[in-house]
Amino acid sequence: MADTTDPSRNDSAENNAKQSTERVLLLIIASDPTVMDDLLTALLDFGVTGATVLESKGLAAVLREEMPIFAGLVSLLPGATGSRTLISITNLATARSVLDFIDTDLREDKRPIAAVLPVTHIAGLKR
């Protein structure tokens, strides 16, 4: 009996399986704090249940803070700019869904910068 399975479908299934097991580091830099709520909700919807959110500052903010010209007093305040960096170890398929969400569902002027990096070794990750 001839094998009727489409080889391309086999490849696709293999690919999907690989994407759902391949671990990657998802890195998102959201400079607009108002986007965080939508972003975190989307991450939970896509199955990202663990992530670390760090307060961060852009290059321009650091330069402004270290080189105030007329507004020296403001530098006394704890320097929160509202920018957040989110890192999470997840699988490639989920990371792609998150990138698609960022590219299509978020307003362009609020869109965070996101990147996916390969992970070669992991230790201490709680399942």
Partner: protein, 417 residues
């Protein structure tokens, strides 16, 4: 048309000067000083102004005044927006006291020196001496908030904070003293003898306008939300109305906008943070534009009186200002190095000095005012070069080496992260 092109040229140069690629040039020590202090902007202004290529003429003062007045308003608003309890409660009482002492001594002594130098100078008409003395006095108050060029170490962050905070406090004091002294000196037409007491009424009227505008701005900021275009509209509306009213009432636009900033910052709520970020984003560009404008408006043909004033101000900053330097905000006792750096930091002239000078020239573009602007720029550059080069020569103190012990682990091996 030529003025419009000149202003566009200056804005273009300012944006270029604050671009990340240009900032890389700061790695070279001397270029770093020139860029951080805004002196490169002044030199560019000189190069494109009447003293150089004459791409922009001295007519900039009367013709470009409306747009430059808006720039003054921008700076005034930046200074005023800081003056809210949430920020001021971080300023220790001791630092506030030292800032007040510096302001009173600097304003009185430097103002008196300027009055002595100019009162009998043929270039200075009698009615211009008091405004000039007020300008020099106010310009001598404080020091720059920028501490990067002093090469402070991480352990000296308390000193950096002290310099920034006292500089931030000094700015509104300098703007207020200059505005009141300048208004009282009588810039009324026709000139009157003695103080123009009606100026106090005009300043009171200006304060009322600022309060009203603050209430309107609060409502407008709520409506604007986080839309940048709307924030820009609110900002331009606030600055245009307040500076327009200031010009009509013959009150310094810098002072008027600062008052509006104080009212807005104490009335607005969360909306303010976005508005403040929006305004502060342009801080460096506006500073460079004013440095270039200062360069264009300067009259470099200094006479004996203004040369003497230049020497006196430079000597005053180098000798007197170090004694008025702030203490570090760090709870640790200051090291010898941090004391030296604090004294050198106090020698430097704040960038607000040039802005005050430009403000005076825009009000009255007379040769003596343009020469006073040159005096401020030259004194600032000399003091900056002196202080920054000396600060970089001060060695970083390392903790005492531990006594050699064979059984103890080496520093690297035993170091905790």
């Amino acid at each position: 048309m030529r003025i419009a092109l000149g202003i566009l040229l200056m804005i273009g140069l300012a944006i270029l000067a604050t671009s990340p690629k240009f900032l890389k040039l700061r790695r070279a020590t001397v270029v770093g000083i020139l860029v951080s202090g805004g002196w490169l902007g002044v030199l560019v202004g000189l190069a494109i102004g009447p003293a150089g290529l004459a791409l922009v003429s001295h007519d900039l003062a009367p013709t470009g005044t409306p747009i430059l007045t808006i720039g003054l308003g921008w700076i005034g608003l930046m200074v005023g927006l800081q003056l809210r309890p949430e920020v001021l409660r971080f300023v220790p009482a001791n630092l506030a006291r030292r800032t007040a002492i510096d302001a009173s001594i600097s304003f009185t002594l430097a103002g008196a020196i300027a009055w002595l130098a100019l009162s009998n100078a043929p270039i200075a008409p009698a009615n211009s001496v008091i405004p000039l003395a007020a300008l020099i006095g106010a310009a001598t108050i404080g020091w720059p908030a920028e501490t990067r060029s002093l090469r402070l170490t991480a352990a000296e962050s308390g000193l950096a904070m002290a310099l920034r905070a006292s500089s931030g406090l000094s700015a509104p004091i300098a703007i207020t003293l200059f505005a009141i002294a300048h208004a009282l000196a009588g810039i009324s037409e026709p000139p009157i003898n003695g103080p123009d007491w009606a100026a106090l009424l005009r300043i009171g009227g200006m304060a009322l306008i600022a309060v009203t505008l603050g209430v309107v701005a609060r409502f407008a900021l709520r409506r604007a939300g986080d839309r940048r275009a709307d924030l820009l509209a609110v900002f331009l509306g606030v600055v245009a109305i307040i500076t327009g009213a200031a010009v009509e009432l013959r009150v310094s636009p810098l002072f008027a906008a600062m008052l509006a900033g104080v009212v807005v910052t104490n009335l607005a709520g969360r909306e303010l943070r976005r508005f403040e970020r929006f305004i502060l984003q342009a801080e460096h560009v506006v500073a460079v534009i004013f440095a270039i404008v200062a360069g264009v408006l300067m009259d470099v043909a200094l006479g004996p009186a203004t040369l003497g004033l230049l020497a006196a101000i430079t000597i005053f900053r180098i000798i007197v200002k170090p004694t008025l330097a702030p203490d570090s905000l760090s709870p640790d006792s200051p090291t010898q190095r941090s004391r030296k750096i604090a004294r050198l930091g106090a020698v430097r002239q704040p960038p607000l000095a040039l802005v005050l000078g430009v403000g005076l020239v825009l009000t009255d573009p007379s040769p003596v005012n343009q020469q006073a602007l040159t005096v401020l720029a030259a004194a600032g550059l000399f003091c900056d070069l002196y202080a920054v080069l000396r600060a970089r020569a001060v060695k970083i103190e390392t903790p005492e080496e531990p006594v050699e012990n064979d059984s103890a682990p080496s520093t690297e091996e035993g170091a905790s992260p």
